[in-house]
Subunit: 689 residues, 2 copies
């Protein structure tokens, strides 16, 4: 035991600095470049090409922000409850609250179609770095940006036209590589099962991003094509045994964004500008929505999902900010950048190519700081309706131009998705929209001041509350039929319609276009070009041993099931239903540790020692929510739903001492479906019995 | 919720600095000076004199290191399992292991007498500061020390002779006050109930000093006089409802030692010398005992209790050391001392009296540093037998002197307890003793080097292992009859007996006496006198609003039942048996999260939602183990057994944001006694039914 104690101390003190690069289960790897060496040396496993292909084709992206996977040949897709909740909210009404009460379709005829969900499967990947590089070769920054945009617009439209796929060009390693990804898209996605939010999100905001955890954060959809369930060849067979302590696991999914390859100047900018702005924004909007919620149970229902999102974001950003405010961590980033720069400086060719780029980026960041408020607030926001107004006013103008001359967002390959969301039949609540718009206007007024040109037009001499009220109460944009008419009516119809939000959008359009143009000319073009330069040299120095920062595209993370040192003791690798009830009773049944009636009634009727959640060392980040956890036989053993509190600096750094991905255990899912929800038929389908 | 979030941040950032002095539930108060003002202003409760007297008389001290309380008129005393375990170990044998298997006496005739337990009740308290001060008035440091010792020897002997009580003079506030405490002592203390160690210490070393926790760390004794259970007037009636979240509670008990009023120079000395030495010692001895344990199950049984103690001490000291290595915390201590010194400097009288004392203490500490190894290692240690050899050789010499001229430890008032332990019938295992002695000799050799005079005599040219073997194998000191003969035989008999450990004690005696004398003349006398000076001025400046550092004498702590921010979320105010089983299953039943068979069999047969442990803000420290938690009606609602990980800096500072005392809940005790141990009769007696 002494040896163990001493060893523990040595480990805590030194392992990170000495050994971490060699042994950490780090990385969100693209599927063209999986971490073969690491997997072979540490786990003795080599993924075959077929294995990788199956993993890619069984993994899905939820385009409203999350991941998931096919778990049967019959088109069942499993994801998180908190990924599904946006659609659950849109399916619900004052009469039927699927968020609160959950949902189970005993037969396919009872399944409910999601109003505006699109899920994607990555079916083709092509490296187009050469094409893009050729298009921008030797151009100055501004022209390079335009040329790059035009080239991407062309490539994606070609792909789309040829294959019918959704086509995206993805910039990896900050322009070190460009890839053309082709996605099969599904828009007929029907809800099969969702538990009650109170058990999916047991422990609420306090327990969010923590572990030990007891959340059944999963939901099940079924994908349809031509009004029939799709037949799926590549899916992850559910293994209800889950994964053992120490077992190798993989997490394929769509991590949203990391900043591990950013320059130090950009990290400082994040710390001093972006993060404080976001935290302020989340806190303000939360406060506004909490006041709104207090008006009644229906208001509380309408705002519940957004409140969850904002609390989630607030806690995540607070954790990140603690990382950025950690002087030791920042010194480590600085040191790493200096090491990299020293290598660049030591090679005349590299030096000539990229050495000045750090200074250019630093200067550009300083320029961004000066315009920070204008860039953030010169676009009308708050709720859904302002964005709809902006879309339609820009759309009718842009589609008249050749594709290559349009502003970003309105290229042919981008319009299909935009129109889909614009026409969504999901309910829009005017009182809720009014609350969010008023909140934005107040925030903009505070940051821009009353004499700003945007503020003058946006407020039109009124108070934010008055202005939000008149705009929202008088607009018809909440009506999908009106939006359809606008889309079909063209520029003249839109200009004449007189809808106050559209009128305001026309008025603000020049300011927004000016803002976007200034940003492209002075920031984006310069940043992209110089980031590309730095990251091309990074490749030449370090090879492709690194993985690119997350971009909400398919990645493969790996690791093992493992507890970790926590709070002076150890956190176990898994939790059980006993713990769910412990937390329920130990907080005297108080919200957010209350339980749905079903769980209170049934507590003696099922196996409380069954696993609920478990943790693994795999390197994930927001966007990975809903990702399957699979074993080396590509069987489904769980679904990722969170990182622990120690993982919140994961935007910038990965440390497998305590950074853990938190997942719902496959055994827990099967146990509750069978014993608590009477969903034996669904279980039979899932287990293929 | 936003307001809550913002409030939380504000609280975390500022509350400690701005408000802590006014609102924290801080302090280990002597019963002559309870925190009346704090209790009135914060909790609206004023303890009456009768309430305080009852609390004092119902609280007991376990002299081998812990606290406890009377819980019935029939002499039942409840304490921690880990306080009782020393006696359980001594009662056990290879055949009967009460530590592992627990114990329950269904009738009084089955109760087992503790071999050498003494428990004390504080029945009288007299302030003797004036007497001591008079005795040392105007004397130089060395003479003052002798005069103080002589004065204390006289006062305590008088008290003992007059009342038959155990009499101690206690120095409070580092000599700011001296009190004569009279204790009623009980030596016939019989074991009534103990659970299995595996559930008393569930989670073992990893979970030690952490929370949420699920330990049934309690044991019950019965006190006898004249072979009959004592009749007790003052006891804490057990309230099985426990205390509610937020309820005011009190913890009367015997905190061992704190260093909150120490000078900064002494804290640095702790950090740089004492703590590293202790950590090294604990780690070495643990390692030696773990090797010994591996020899067999009986060896493992013999060493188990000491291993627990050492692991416990190691973790506690590691936590303290983290506090001392925390630069912000140390800067805070420095600032506080500077503020105090500024006040002293501002008053000519105070300045003259005490200003130079800080420098004197700093110089004395530097002197101590130089002699640190000699002072620590020039006394033979390791196991029980070397101490027994030393005691008898010094005893036969010292008792021939007048009381006032004897060395410390051999005054009349101190001998009764010494002889009691010397004659203890508790088993002594030679192989175990040999392991500990060899470990000490190796450590001493490492620290002192082979040419040290102590080492030369102690090793006598042999290796530590050889020497320990010959000394322990050949000594008869393990035989209580031989010890009795030594005690009765006097100086001549002891000198002639030829027992190798006693021979060695004679040889080492001059070195030890020299070491003690040097320490008294150069360190203790100077430190005591100057600490007294500083702390007398502290009284004059701050009044008696402060509480003295802990001295293993009776204190009253207070606070409320309350969870706390932990690991990114909240720790609940209590835990339940559901959590016990969660941790058992979540670690796959692995030790130290395994459970006794009784708990595995019975898990569906009792109320798992019953409380196990709970936390409160009361300010406690090692020595408080076994202290009752009582409500304002002086009812027993639980028994303290630990502090959380955040409390480990409690030696130096108290911060009620997260510092919590962890206790077993009265409801949990009653539940298991009734439902798992078939101890219904005991429960009836406890609940007076």
């Amino acid at each position: 035991m002494t040896k163990k104690i001493i060893l523990t101390i040595i480990l805590i003190c030194f392992v990170f600095f000495l050994f971490a690069p060699a042994f950490a289960d780090e990385g969100m790897w693209t599927l063209d470049n999986p971490p073969i060496t690491q997997l072979q040396s540490k786990y003795g496993f080599t993924p075959a090409a077929e294995w990788l292909e199956k993993v890619r084709l069984a993994s899905v992206r939820f385009n409203d922000g999350g991941s998931g996977s096919f778990i049967t040949s019959t088109g069942l897709v499993l994801t998180n409850h908190h990924v599904a909740v946006g659609q659950l909210q849109k399916m619900s009404s004052a009469e039927k609250d699927y968020v609160k009460d959950g949902f189970y379709a005993k037969t396919t005829s009872e399944e409910i179609k999601s109003p505006d969900l699109e899920i994607n499967v990555l079916v083709s990947m092509e490296n187009v770095t050469g094409i893009i590089n050729k298009a921008i070769k030797d151009l100055p920054a501004e022209k390079a940006l335009k040329a790059r945009q035009a080239s991407i617009a062309r490539i994606t439209k070609e792909k789309m036209d040829k294959t019918g796929l959704r086509a995206d060009v993805v910039s990896l390693y900050y322009g070190g590589e460009y890839w053309l990804y082709g996605y099969k898209k599904y828009r007929d996605v029907r809800l099969v099962f969702a538990p009650e939010k109170q058990v999916a999100f047991f422990g609420g905001d306090p327990d969010n991003f923590t572990y030990p955890r007891y959340d059944l954060d999963f939901a099940i959809f079924r994908v349809y094509e031509n009004d029939k369930p799709v037949k799926i060849e590549n899916y992850f067979k559910v293994n209800p045994q889950g994964a053992k302590d120490g077992e190798l696991i993989f997490i394929p999914g769509h991590p949203g964004s990391t900043k591990r390859l950013m320059t130090y100047a950009e990290l400082e900018f994040l710390r001093d500008f972006v993060q404080p702005y976001r935290l302020e924004k989340y806190a303000r909007t939360l406060s506004a929505l909490e006041d709104y919620s207090k008006k009644g149970t229906e208001e509380a229902r309408r705002a519940a999902t957004m409140i969850f999102s904002l609390q989630n974001a607030y806690k995540a950003y607070l954790g990140r900010q603690q990382g950025l405010l950690d002087k030791k961590l920042m010194a480590k980033f600085k040191k790493e950048e200096n090491n990299f720069k020293a290598k660049v400086a030591a090679n005349p060719e590299f030096k000539k190519e990229a050495m000045s780029s750090w200074d250019v980026i630093t200067k550009t960041v300083k320029l961004h700081e000066k315009e920070f408020n204008n860039l953030n607030f010169h676009t009308l926001q708050g709720g859904k309706l302002p964005g709809m107004g902006r879309f339609i006013t820009q759309y009718v103008v842009e589609i008249k131009k050749p594709d290559k001359d349009r502003i970003e967002g309105y290229h042919e390959s981008q319009l299909d998705e935009k129109k889909y969301y614009f026409l969504s039949p999901a309910p829009v609540y005017k009182d809720y929209e009014e609350t969010l718009l008023a909140d934005f206007l107040k925030h903009a007024l505070k940051r821009l001041g009353p004499n700003d040109k945007f503020i003058k037009i946006a407020l039109n001499g009124k108070s934010p509350d008055e202005r939000a009220k008149e705009l929202i109460q008088q607009t018809n944009l909440d009506d999908p039929k009106f939006r359809k008419a606008l889309l079909e009516g063209g520029e003249e119809f839109v200009k004449k319609c007189g809808d106050p939000l559209i009128v305001l959008s026309w008025q603000l359009d020049p300011i927004r276009r000016e803002s976007v143009k200034w940003s492209e000319d002075n920031l984006e073009s310069v940043m992209t070009l110089n980031s590309e330069k730095i990251n091309k040299i990074r490749f030449k120095i370090y090879g492709k041993s690194a993985y690119p920062d997350a971009t909400f595209t398919l990645r493969l993370a790996y690791g093992k099931v493992a507890g970790y040192p926590m709070n002076g003791t150890l956190a176990p690798h898994k939790t059980t239903f006993y713990g769910l009830y412990d937390r329920y009773y130990s907080f005297d049944k108080r919200y957010p540790w209350s339980l749905p009636e079903r769980y209170i009634q049934a507590k003696d009727k099922f196996d409380l020692s069954a696993p609920v959640d478990f943790v693994s060392t795999a390197d994930i980040i927001g966007g990975n929510s809903g990702s399957p956890v699979i074993n080396k036989d590509a069987e489904f053993v769980g679904v990722v739903f969170d990182g622990n509190i120690e993982s919140l600096v994961g935007d910038f750094i990965y440390d497998d001492t305590a950074n853990r991905a938190v997942s719902v255990h496959s055994g827990g899912i099967i146990e509750v479906l069978n014993k608590l929800y009477g969903a034996e038929d669904l279980v039979k389908e899932i287990l293929n019995k």
